[in-house]
C-alpha cells in the first residue's frame, strides 16, 4: 500500500473531510500560508482558501471559544493548538464549556469540535514546549481523547473524530509527524475507543500510548529474541479507555506493564493499572502492575537529560524483563 507520513495522513484526512462536508474548517495559529508550525496543514489553505483555513491571532482561550461557538451552531471546527502546552490557556473553554454544555443544557445542544494538540518531548524544546498533558483530559467527562500512533490511525481516527458529535481532543506526538506507514487513499474510519493489539504474546502485556506504543513494539521484538513473549497493545484512545481489550490480554498473560510519556504520577498508566486492579482481572495477576512514565520533573533542555526524562526502548526492555522474573 501507498505510504504517507503521519503529518500527510492528517492533512489528507482534513482535505477529504473538507471536500465532503462544507461545515468542516481548520483554524489556529499559522495554519494558513505558513502551513502549520509542524507543517501539518501544508497546502490546505491553497486548496480551500483563507475562509476555511483560518490563521488566528495568538489567543488560545479565545480560539477554543470560537470552536465551541461554531460547533454549537452547526459547524465542524478543527482547531490546532500550536503546541499542546498552550492548552493551559484554553482549559476554561475546553473543560468548563465544550465538555459540559451538552450535559448542562439537558442534552439540547451538541459540541462537535475537534482539537489537535501536538505534544511530547524529544525536540530540545524544553519545559514549556514538550509536555504530554493528555491525562488531564482523560479526567474530564464529556470529552473524548485520542492518541493515534501510526499514519493509518491518524487519518482514520481524525475522520472518526469529525463524525463524532462530541468534543474530541487529538494528542499528536511531534516525533511522529515524519514517521511513515501505509495509508489507504479512501476516507476510512478507525473507531474511537478501540485499542489495537500490535503484537500477540503470552508472557506479559505491554500497553503503550502514542509514541510509546511504537517503542513498546520495538522492545517486544528484542524481548522475543531473549524468549520473552510480550503482547503489545496500542491504547489509541485514553478517554474512553478500551478496558476489555486490555483486560482480555492481562487475563491471558497475567502481567501488565504500561508505558507512557507523560509524568508517571497521575499519568494515564495510573488509570489503566487501577482499572485492572479493581476488576476481576486482579485474580489473574501473577505480578505487580508496572508503570513506566515520564520522570517526575519538567522536561529538561539538555539532550541527554531530555532522553533520560522519558521512557526509552531500553527502559521498556528492562522493565519487561523485571516483570517477567516477578512471581
Amino acid at each position: 500500500m501507498r505510504e504517507l507520513s503521519y503529518a500527510e495522513a492528517i492533512r489528507e484526512a482534513l482535505g477529504q473531510a473538507m471536500e465532503a462536508d462544507e461545515r468542516v474548517f481548520l483554524f489556529g495559529e499559522d495554519v494558513g500560508v505558513y502551513g502549520g508550525a509542524f507543517g501539518v496543514s501544508g497546502d490546505l489553505v491553497h486548496r480551500f482558501g483563507t475562509e476555511r483555513v483560518i490563521d488566528t491571532p495568538i489567543s488560545e482561550l479565545g480560539i477554543a471559544g470560537v470552536a465551541v461557538g461554531a460547533a454549537i451552531t452547526g459547524m465542524r471546527p478543527v482547531l490546532e493548538i500550536q503546541f499542546s502546552d498552550f492548552v493551559t490557556l484554553a482549559m476554561e473553554q475546553i473543560v468548563n464549556q465544550a465538555a459540559k454544555i451538552r450535559f448542562m443544557f439537558g442534552g439540547k445542544a451538541t459540541v462537535p469540535m475537534v482539537v489537535r494538540l501536538p505534544g511530547g518531548s524529544g525536540t530540545g524544546a524544553a519545559a514549556q514546549h514538550s509536555q504530554s498533558l493528555e491525562a488531564w483530559f482523560a479526567h474530564v467527562p464529556g470529552l473524548k481523547v485520542i492518541q493515534p500512533a501510526t499514519p493509518h490511525d491518524a487519518k482514520g481516527m481524525l475522520l472518526a473524530a469529525l463524525d463524532d458529535p462530541n468534543p474530541v481532543l487529538i494528542f499528536e506526538h511531534k516525533l511522529l509527524y515524519k514517521t511513515k506507514g501505509p495509508v489507504p487513499a479512501e476516507a476510512y474510519r478507525v473507531p474511537i475507543g478501540k485499542a489495537a493489539i500490535r503484537r500477540e504474546g503470552t508472557d506479559l502485556t505491554i500497553v503503550g500510548t502514542s509514541l510509546m506504543s511504537l517503542k513498546a513494539e520495538a522492545a517486544a521484538a528484542r524481548l522475543a529474541e531473549e524468549g520473552i513473549s510480550a503482547e503489545v497493545i496500542d491504547l489509541r484512545t485514553i478517554r474512553p479507555i478500551d478496558f476489555d481489550t486490555v483486560a482480555a490480554s492481562v487475563r491471558k498473560t497475567g502481567r501488565l506493564l504500561v508505558v507512557y510519556e507523560g509524568v508517571k504520577t497521575m499519568g494515564i498508566g495510573a488509570e489503566i493499572s487501577a482499572m485492572i486492579a479493581e476488576s476481576d482481572v486482579f485474580d489473574f495477576l501473577d505480578a505487580p502492575i508496572l508503570r513506566l512514565g515520564g520522570a517526575d520533573m519538567p522536561l529538561p533542555y539538555n539532550p541527554q537529560l531530555e532522553k533520560a526524562a522519558v521512557p526509552q526502548e531500553d527502559d521498556i526492555v528492562a522493565a519487561a524483563r523485571r516483570l517477567k522474573r516477578e512471581e
Binding site: P57, G65, V66, G69, A71, N96, K108, A109, P141
Partner: protein, 340 residues
C-alpha cells in the same frame, strides 16, 4: 413600506423623542410585558428561595430589565444570544417560557436543562439563547465562534453576547473583541455595567471609567448609554444589530445600570451604601417607561396595569407548572454526558 395607518400613528408621535417614537404600541406592550415578566420571575424566584424551594444560589437582575429587553427587542427569532450568570432577564427577553425556567430552577425534568443546569446554565437553544454561563466572560469567545459560524453559513443571523463590567477585565474579553473586529463578525457585545463585579466597584477594578472606552482598542464602535432607558437601549441595539447583519462588523454597547439586589444570596452589601441603592431604586426602568408612556398618552394606566397583571398571572401559572413537574429520574443520572 409604511401603510397609511402606520404613517399617521408615527406623525402623532412627532412630539416624542425619536427612540420612543420609533416603537409602535405593540412593540412597547411586548417590551413592558417582558420587563414585568422578568421582574416578577425574579421576585418569585427570591420568594421560592426563601421558602426553600430552590437549591444553590441565584443572581438577580432586578433593576436591569431595560437592558435585557431593549437589546433583544430588535432581534429576529432565529438570532442568537449568549447570556451570563445573571441571565434570567436575557432569557425571558429572548422569548423563553417562564414555566420551563422555573422548572429548571426547581431542578425538574421539565426545565430547560432537565434540571441538570439550574439558574446559572439556563439555555433555550431552540429559542436562540445559547445559554447562561457560570464563568464570568465565558460567553465572549463563544460569541466570536457563533459570529464566525453565521458568517460562514451566510445565514444572516446576528449574535448578541451579554457580559458585566467585571467581565471586561478578563482576558477573554480582549481576545473575543479583537477576533470579532478583525473578522468583522455579526456580533453585538452588550456590557451591562451595573457598577460592580460582586463587591468590586468598576472604579477600583478597571483602569477606565467606561467599558466602552475600550472599544477603540478593537477599532470597534463603542457607545455608553443609560441602560435603564428602554427606548434608547432598543434604538442603540437596533442600529448595532442592523450594522452587524449587513456585514458592518461588531459593536460594543455599554448599558449603565444597577442591580438592586445583592450579587447573590450570600451578599451582605458591605461595599455599597443604602443611599446608593435607594437612588437606583428610584430609577426603576419599568416605572420610568410607564411614566413616559403615560405622559405621552401612548397608554393609559388601566392598559399598563393590565399588562402587569397578565405578566403576574403568567408567572403564577409558571410556578404551578414547575411545582407540579416531576423530578429527574435518578436512573438517568449520567444521560447526556455524551451525544451519540
Amino acid at each position: 413600506m409604511a401603510t397609511g395607518e402606520a404613517k399617521a400613528a408615527r406623525s402623532e408621535r412627532a412630539n416624542q423623542r425619536p427612540e420612543l417614537a420609533a416603537l409602535d404600541d405593540a412593540t412597547l406592550r411586548e417590551a413592558l410585558r417582558r420587563m414585568h415578566l422578568i421582574r416578577k420571575f425574579e421576585e418569585e424566584a427570591e420568594n421560592s428561595y426563601m421558602r426553600g424551594l430552590i437549591h444553590g444560589t441565584m443572581h438577580l437582575s432586578i433593576g436591569q430589565e431595560a437592558s435585557a429587553v431593549g437589546t433583544c427587542l430588535p432581534l429576529e427569532p432565529q438570532d442568537y444570544i449568549l447570556s451570563t450568570h445573571r441571565g434570567h432577564g436575557h432569557c425571558i427577553a429572548k422569548g423563553a417560557q417562564p414555566g420551563m425556567m422555573f422548572a429548571e430552577f426547581f431542578g425538574k425534568e421539565t426545565g430547560y436543562c432537565r434540571g441538570r443546569g439550574g439558574s446559572m446554565h439556563i439555555a433555550d437553544v431552540e429559542g436562540g439563547n445559547l445559554g447562561a454561563n457560570g464563568i464570568v466572560g465565558g460567553g465572549l469567545p463563544i460569541a466570536a465562534g457563533v459570529g464566525l459560524s453565521i458568517k460562514m453559513q451566510k445565514n444572516g443571523r446576528v449574535c448578541i453576547v451579554f457580559f458585566g463590567d467585571g467581565a471586561s477585565n478578563e482576558g477573554a474579553f480582549h481576545e473575543a473583541l479583537n477576533m470579532a473586529s478583525i473578522w468583522k463578525l455579526p456580533v453585538v457585545f452588550v456590557c451591562e455595567n451595573n457598577h460592580y463585579g460582586m463587591s468590586m466597584a468598576i472604579e477600583r477594578a478597571s483602569a477606565v471609567p467606561n467599558v466602552a472606552d475600550r472599544a477603540p482598542a478593537y477599532a470597534m464602535p463603542g457607545i455608553t448609554i443609560d441602560g435603564n432607558d428602554l427606548p434608547l437601549v432598543a434604538a442603540t441595539a437596533g442600529e448595532a444589530i442592523a450594522r452587524a447583519r449587513s456585514g458592518g462588523g461588531p459593536t460594543l454597547i455599554e448599558c449603565k445600570t444597577y442591580r438592586i439586589r445583592g450579587h447573590s444570596k450570600s451578599d451582605r452589601n458591605l461595599y455599597r451604601t443604602k443611599e446608593e441603592i435607594d437612588l437606583w431604586r428610584s430609577r426603576c426602568p419599568i416605572v420610568r417607561l410607564e411614566e413616559e408612556l403615560l405622559g405621552h398618552d401612548r397608554f393609559d394606566r388601566q392598559a399598563l396595569d393590565a399588562i402587569e397583571a397578565a405578566a403576574a398571572a403568567e408567572i403564577a401559572e409558571a410556578i404551578e407548572f414547575a411545582k407540579a413537574s416531576p423530578d429527574p429520574d435518578i436512573s438517568e443520572l449520567t444521560r447526556d454526558v455524551y451525544a451519540n
